[in-house]
């Protein structure tokens, strides 16, 4: 999707800091560059600084320190209305006293675009979001999903190259949200616009984005494409924040051939891939995805370490089975197995041996 040749920064944050009260930093030393046409999602829990970053980019908050550049030009001192950035707000912010068409025509009017041009562009934008017949309605007469489309059309109608979206799907129900995710992504790709998208919903982030920046505590914890983020989290925050995850705590005993031997707190030994650990004796938290746990030991490599596990609960979920096990003294270890004809259905009380490929189990920092 993103052409590597044009990978020079379109939007760039350089050493950006933000503080509201002069005592604590909401955004700490943010460095971020995204090329033209990228769909970047800022993902993180509330209070992690993602919305503040978006507001600084839009111009509604000023950076306490550092530069924000758009297409190579520092925009710190440019007022919001001159930045030419489209924005979709959390509650849509459609002007209630104007019709849909007037809402869309507003950004064109303030740009002094002629009437016939305006009408053409409004019509095109409405058709793009499949709302061609709704120009005469008022926002209050539209459903949540329709308002969402209009808000999107309004952010796009003046041909902004950069569009910011602040949790735009937060108010929609699950089905509509999934549909709109697809829709937004399609439109963004069609128009080739650059999108910075803020959400706290990780599924949304994974399905829509070219890259995801995971925020926590005012810092970007990891900036990577969705698959990397899921499969190769770089620290234990990302591992736990993205997707479902089993963690076990212990100490590194030795590292050989890129495989760490970790001694868990109850004395059991497991194999893991060292990510944030380098020295024997370091404390670590290992992370393993539920679907990568194996209890058919034939599939494991020769000499792999295994653990005893006692089945606590078996949950039938249709496409998958979800089994809760007691492993290494903790009873919240989850494994997921596909509902295949030959799949074993474990029963509570059963004791099984489980194991995994060393590269699926990541030894991360102990925080």
């Amino acid at each position: 999707m993103v052409d590597t040749a044009s990978r020079e920064a379109f939007v760039e944050f350089e050493r950006v800091q933000k503080s509201y009260d002069g005592e604590t930093l909401v955004v700490k030393d943010l460095n971020l560059a995204l090329p033209k046409g990228e769909f970047l999602t800022m993902l993180g829990p509330s209070g992690s600084g993602k919305t503040t970053c978006l507001m600084m980019l839009a111009g509604f908050e000023t950076a306490t320190h550092g530069d924000i550049r758009l297409d190579g030009v520092a925009i710190n001192n440019i007022p919001p209305h001159k930045r030419g950035i489209g924005m979709v707000f959390q509650n849509y912010a459609l002007f209630p006293h104007m019709t849909v068409a007037e809402n869309l025509s507003f950004p064109l009017e303030v740009r002094k675009i002629g009437k016939s041009d305006r009408e053409k562009k409004v019509k095109r934008a409405l058709e793009m979001v499949q709302m061609g017949d709704f120009g005469g309605r008022r926002p209050a007469q539209l459903s949540g999903g329709q308002q969402q489309r209009i808000a999107l059309a309004r952010a796009l109608v003046f041909e902004a190259e950069l569009v910011l979206m602040d949790e735009p799907l937060g108010a929609l129900d699950k089905q509509l949200r999934e549909h709109m995710q697809f829709e937004i992504k399609r439109i963004a790709d069609d128009l080739g616009i650059t999108v910075v998208y803020v959400t706290h919903d990780q599924t949304e982030a994974l399905t829509m984005s070219d890259r995801v920046a995971v925020f926590n505590d005012g810092k970007i914890q990891q900036l990577a494409p969705p698959d990397t983020l899921y499969e190769a989290p770089e620290n234990s925050f990302v591992a736990q924040f993205i997707g479902e995850n089993n963690t076990l705590e212990g100490k590194v005993r030795e590292i050989t051939n890129g495989v760490a031997l970790v001694e868990l707190d109850n004395g059991d030994l497991i194999d893991a891939k060292p990510i944030n650990v380098s020295q024997p004796g370091e404390r670590t938290r290992v992370s393993i995805r539920p679907e990568r746990v194996e209890f058919n030991l034939d599939r494991l490599e020769e000499g792999s370490h295994t653990l005893k596990a006692e089945v606590q609960e078996f949950i039938y979920m249709g496409d998958i089975f979800r089994t809760r096990l007691k492993v290494a003294g903790k009873d919240d270890f989850i494994i997921k197995t596909r509902n295949a004809p030959d799949q074993v259905r474990l029963k509570p009380g059963e004791v099984v041996e489980i194991g995994w490929q060393a590269e699926d189990c990541r030894a991360l920092d102990a925080n």
């Binding site: 839009a58 509604f60 919001p80 489209g86 707000f89 912010a93 006293h97 303030v110």
Partner: protein
């Protein structure tokens, strides 16, 4: 939001069954569902009504009833026909447009009416009422109350000179009353606490001496009821002697009378035709020459109906004339100017309140809640001080020797000789009333602005609007309901404002309400005050209606 209205409601189920079955839907016990629902709701309605009953009664007694009374007073005019019943009837035949004086019959009727009214002390009230329409009527009636007594005394003296027996009330009681009544009347004790027995006329006396009987009955009734005395022992009014003389000279068949005092009556009848006499018209003219001119009679005739449009015509600078309503002379017109001034100044006050209140409300709405609450106290503080104190404070500030002038003189901006006149004129009223009514503008504005999310302004700016465009195209239209509510409040309050214009308004800064207050408390012309008040109420209602048509009352938000 729109989904909610499309969602099925419990009622839908009822409608469905209703349309499927042709018969009425039955409740579980077999009664029609409608009736059983009605019964269930009736108790609720009754309880709700009982809850609001105290307020309802209070409002009815203290609000609806006085307003209804006021509306009624603006057209009510029963005093003329009640005080001068005979005159009003007699005047029916008189053509007021010819310029001729009314006939002797009218003067006679007026004599009886005014004489009885004077005894009852009602003639001065009627005089004040007619004085609103014809200057001088008040003193004319006061004078006539005394003068008409003299008119009758001419006959009284002559009858008494003829025979001393006519001086005694007992003679009259014997002549006029039935024997039965006399027995009862003489047995009556004033100390008993009851009224004296009601007069019963002697049989046949009414046919013999009709006018005397009527006059004596009026006299007896007055003595009995108003004075609480015994008519049988009281000496009659001079009116009775006049009537007696009229009857005797009018061809009464005295010879047919056979009751007591027949001789005395015969003697009087023989002498009466030789009495010194005068016509009623002359008698009235002697009292005041105004009675011998048409205006007073025209006024009485014009205002004789029980209901009149006179007060309303008066309120719009018109007057009733025999030729129909016409505009008053230019130098007598006052209410039109006052109404226009009231409207104009209320408008200026409303606009100043918008100008001053809008930025304050905006700041309040955009501050953090804690600071906003603190500042809100400053807005409300004037609310909690007495209106009089605030208005008087403006007097201190604005007068020629006041704070502002002193400061200007001290700064050298204004010479000591030509200090600014800022009070006792329209300027003073506008300043003081803007200050007093400002909270009524700020509060609705604030509550409306609080509901406008800041994200609208942000959205507008992100779409490329400058600060001004974003405000004017996006924020302002959404705050219009607040302006509407505030303007209605301020305008309607100021249109009826009284105290402040009274204190700081001087002569050029007073409102129509000051004139209403004057008529209520000083000139006591309540009818005119009521008519002015009714017009004011109508103007407010028309404005409200116009506002509803143009802006829509749904768009007014108080919070």
């Amino acid at each position: 939001m729109s989904n909610a209205s499309e969602a099925p409601t419990p009622d839908d189920g009822l409608k469905l069954t209703d349309s499927e079955n042709t018969g009425p839907v039955l409740a579980a016990d077999g009664t029609p569902l409608k009736r059983s629902l009605g019964r269930a709701l009736r108790r609720q309605k009754l309880r709700a009504l009982m809850l609001i009953a105290p307020l309802l009664i209070f409002v009815l007694l203290t609000f609806i009833a006085p307003i209804a009374d006021m509306l009624f007073r603006s057209v009510e005019n029963q005093i003329v026909s009640e005080t001068l019943p005979r005159t009003v009837v007699a005047l029916d035949d008189w053509d007021s447009t010819t310029g001729d004086l009314p006939s002797e019959a009218v003067y006679e009727a007026a004599y009886y009416d005014i004489f009885i009214a004077a005894e009852r002390k009602l003639h001065t009230r009627l005089g004040s009422r007619l004085n609103y329409e014809l200057t001088g009527a008040s003193s004319l009636f006061r004078k006539s109350g005394r003068g008409l007594d003299d008119l009758g005394e001419v006959y009284q003296d002559q009858f008494e000179d003829l025979n001393e027996a006519w001086e005694d009330g007992e003679t009259w009681a014997l002549l006029m009353g039935s024997g039965d009544w006399q027995d009862k009347a003489y047995a009556w004790e004033k100390s008993s606490g009851d009224l004296a027995p009601k007069l019963e006329l002697r049989e046949g006396i009414e046919e013999l001496l009709p006018k005397t009987a009527a006059a004596y009955s009026s006299f007896a009734n007055f003595v009995r009821v108003d004075d609480g005395d015994n008519p049988a022992t009281e000496d009659p009014w001079s009116l009775v002697y006049t009537a007696f003389w009229q009857d005797l000279t009018g061809g009464a068949n005295v010879a047919s009378y056979s009751g007591p005092e027949a001789e005395l009556l015969m003697e009087a009848a023989n002498a009466a035709s030789g009495f010194e006499s005068t016509t009623f018209a002359e008698g009235f003219a002697d009292i005041d020459k105004d009675w011998a001119s048409t205006p007073i009679w025209q006024t009485i005739k014009t205002y004789s109906p029980k209901y009149t449009s006179g007060y309303f015509l008066n309120s719009v600078d018109m007057q009733k004339t025999p030729d129909g309503p016409e505009l008053r002379d230019a130098n007598e017109r006052i209410y039109g100017i006052l109404f226009k001034r009231t409207m104009f100044m209320s408008m200026v006050i409303t606009i100043s309140c918008i100008m001053l209140g809008y930025p304050v409300a905006w700041i309040l709405a955009n501050l953090p809640a804690r600071t906003a609450n603190l500042l809100m106290i400053l807005v409300l503080l004037p609310f909690w001080t007495s209106l009089l104190v605030r208005t008087s404070a403006w007097k201190v500030m604005l007068q020629q020797q006041g704070v502002i002038n002193d400061v200007l003189v001290w700064l050298g901006l204004v010479g000591d000789g030509d200090r600014l006149v800022m009070i006792n004129n329209q300027f003073g009223t506008i300043v003081a009333m803007t200050h007093i009514l400002l909270p009524f503008m700020i509060l609705p504005l604030y509550s409306v602005m609080q509901t406008i999310p800041p994200s609208y302004l942000r959205a507008a700016k992100s779409l490329g609007a400058t600060n001004w465009t974003a405000f004017w195209r996006v924020y302002f239209p959404q705050s219009v309901p607040g302006i509407g509510a505030g303007s209605i409040l301020v305008f309607i309050l100021s249109i009826g404002y009284y105290i402040t214009p009274e204190i700081v308004g001087g002569t050029t800064g007073t409102f129509i309400s000051n004139r209403i207050a004057y008529h209520i408390s000083s000139s006591l012309n309540w009818g005119l005050a009521a008519a002015l008040g009714t017009i004011l109420l109508a103007v407010v209602m028309i404005l409200y209606w116009a506002y509803d048509k143009i802006v829509g009352i749904d768009n007014v938000k108080l919070g």
